[in-house]
């Protein structure tokens, strides 16, 4: 692509990803409050619009209008830019996800590696956000977040690796096309490892010790208010959407060869199923302690992923 067209393509891609994440956050927050309400035997938002659909719109408009506090103890430079450092990598990684059979916004031969590698930059945002706000709790939250996100990339990558071995290529569109139904029972363990480790990447569910409500009050984004905190929230829901789409595409066969919008619809329903599973897990289980968290990553998930890889290797060799 020549200079100008490339630039235009980049801007369009960024804007598309950003608006996709915004939409995902809008729908995700509402869906989360409804699912958690049902688990806790209550209704969830109802008054803002039909079935409470406009609730998240109200929240966003209010958050936009909130005062944007810069704490006196905070270091202004990194403090103001930390949310973007967390948001942009997730938006970019969303581009690498195949949306329907044969098409992905950023169709590269190393798409899977690209999808797994780019979000790890947001670890930097978490760390800097925590440290820059000068608040003891935020610092502890930032340290925990960094340790957790770094150590959970290993099992996540290994689990995707076993699919790459089966599919024979790292191009997500190719992997989705090559998907067979009998792969499901074979790579069930990999799918579980992938889901658990991507929950840990998003700092959600049993792994939300960086922003543990009951201990650190609000973890690394304790001192952010208004729009900056909203960006942190949007990046979290963006990460959920990305992980679910990618998981559906790679592990569950995505659009099963159906091109165009219908294919995207099938992929989306599978992704929403995974999102609901993620929320269901968050509202059922208590939180890990930080040392148990690390032990789970290195002593349980990584060995499971390696065993899965070995099995897949044998099957691929026999195939």
């Amino acid at each position: 692509m020549s200079g100008a067209a490339g630039l235009a393509w980049g801007v369009a891609g960024g804007l598309g990803a950003g608006s996709a994440i915004a939409l995902a956050a809008l729908f995700g927050v509402w869906w989360e409050r409804k699912v958690s309400a049902r688990i806790q035997m209550r209704f969830g938002p109802q008054q803002a619009g039909p079935f409470g659909l406009l609730q998240t719109l109200a929240d966003t408009v209010k958050l936009v209008l909130k005062e944007d506090i810069l704490p006196s103890r905070a270091d202004p430079g990194p403090f103001l830019r930390a949310p973007l450092v967390v948001f942009v990598p997730i938006a970019v990684s969303l581009l690498a996800v195949p949306l329907s059979a044969g098409w992905a916004p950023l169709d590269t031969s190393v798409g899977a590696l690209f999808f797994l590698a780019v979000p790890s930059v947001s670890v930097l945002g978490v760390l800097v956000g925590g440290w820059a706000s000068g608040n003891t709790y935020a610092t502890i939250g930032g340290l925990r977040g960094a340790a957790q996100m770094v150590s959970y990339e290993v099992p996540r990558t290994l689990s995707v690796l076993s699919m790459v071995v089966l599919a024979g290529s790292m191009r997500p569109v190719g992997m989705m096309a090559a998907w067979r139904w009998w792969w499901l029972p074979l790579t069930a363990v990999a799918f579980v490892v992938y889901i658990v480790s991507s929950i840990a990447e998003m700092n959600r569910g049993p792994f939300d010790i960086p922003e543990a409500e009951s201990e650190l009050v609000a973890g690394y984004f304790a001192d952010y208010s208004g729009i900056r905190w909203a960006i942190f929230m949007m990046s979290e829901y963006g990460a959920i959407l990305a992980a679910s789409l990618f998981g559906a595409a790679v592990f569950l066969g995505g659009s099963h060869g159906v091109p165009g919008v219908a294919g995207f619809a099938i992929l989306l329903t599978e992704a929403i199923a995974i999102v609901t599973l993620v929320m269901w897990v968050k509202w059922t289980f208590p939180r890990f302690r930080s040392d148990q968290l690390m032990a789970l990553a290195w002593k349980v998930l990584t060995p499971m992923a390696l065993v899965q890889l070995a099995v897949v290797g044998l099957v691929a060799a026999w195939l």
Binding site: Q40, Q47, A58, I69, A218
Partner: protein, 207 residues
């Protein structure tokens, strides 16, 4: 002040645009009042019960957040002692604008059962916080707490975002001096030693 307030001031010349933005802003602020649960004593039990399965606060868009930075309304529930007052004032100052205060329960409104004969209770949090809605009750039912939040929504509708531009809306509740209250303005009533509101000065006391 919030970004849009500055816009509001700039746009005072064009009421048409303002009312539509004003309506959207008031609606969104009313619908998503995130509560900072400042629960110290018995009223905290009712505050918790209000957001759980039988009386669902989430339905009204009110979500309890422990961090003052992310909340709009501070619900002070329970007895406030002289030793606790500075902590509450500090948390209030940490909350971003536009922020509101709801005094839940008689202890927060006026010291309640601990008004007489105690040396360590602040007699009403309007001694150090600007309170918007007082909810009487000891402890008030979760529904009266939700009624308080609905009254706060009414109050938000009457205070528009543009400074000095308030649309008088039919208020459900009487305000002081209103004839319906059917009584002389209570301030002259000797039985109520009313303390004037001093928003910024944290409660007195040896500490």
């Amino acid at each position: 002040m919030a970004l849009v307030d500055r816009i509001g001031r700039a746009l005072t010349g064009a009421p048409l645009l303002l009312t539509s933005v004003d309506a959207l802003v008031d609606w969104s602020r009313g619908q998503s009042l995130w509560a900072m649960p400042m629960g110290t004593a018995c009223c905290a039990m009712e505050l918790i019960a209000a957001s759980f399965s039988k009386f669902d606060f989430d339905r009204l868009g009110t979500f309890p957040r422990p961090d003052p930075r992310h909340t709009d309304v501070m619900v002070v529930a329970g007895t406030v002692t002289r030793r606790m007052a500075p902590a509450i004032a500090r948390l209030y100052e940490q909350m971003p604008d536009p922020k509101y205060v709801v005094a839940m329960g008689n202890c927060a409104v006026s010291g309640g059962i601990f008004f007489y004969d105690t040396y360590s209770v602040v007699r009403g949090i309007d001694e150090f916080l600007p309170v918007d809605v007082y909810i009487a009750g000891c402890p008030p039912r979760p529904e009266s707490l939700q009624d308080g939040i609905l009254q706060l929504r009414e109050l938000i509708q009457t205070r528009s975002i543009a400074a000095g531009h308030s649309h008088p809306r039919e208020m459900v509740l009487p305000s002081a001096g209103d004839e319906r209250a059917g009584s002389v303005d209570a301030r002259e009533r000797p039985s109520v030693p009313h303390v004037p509101v001093r928003p910024t000065d944290p409660g007195g006391g040896p500490e």
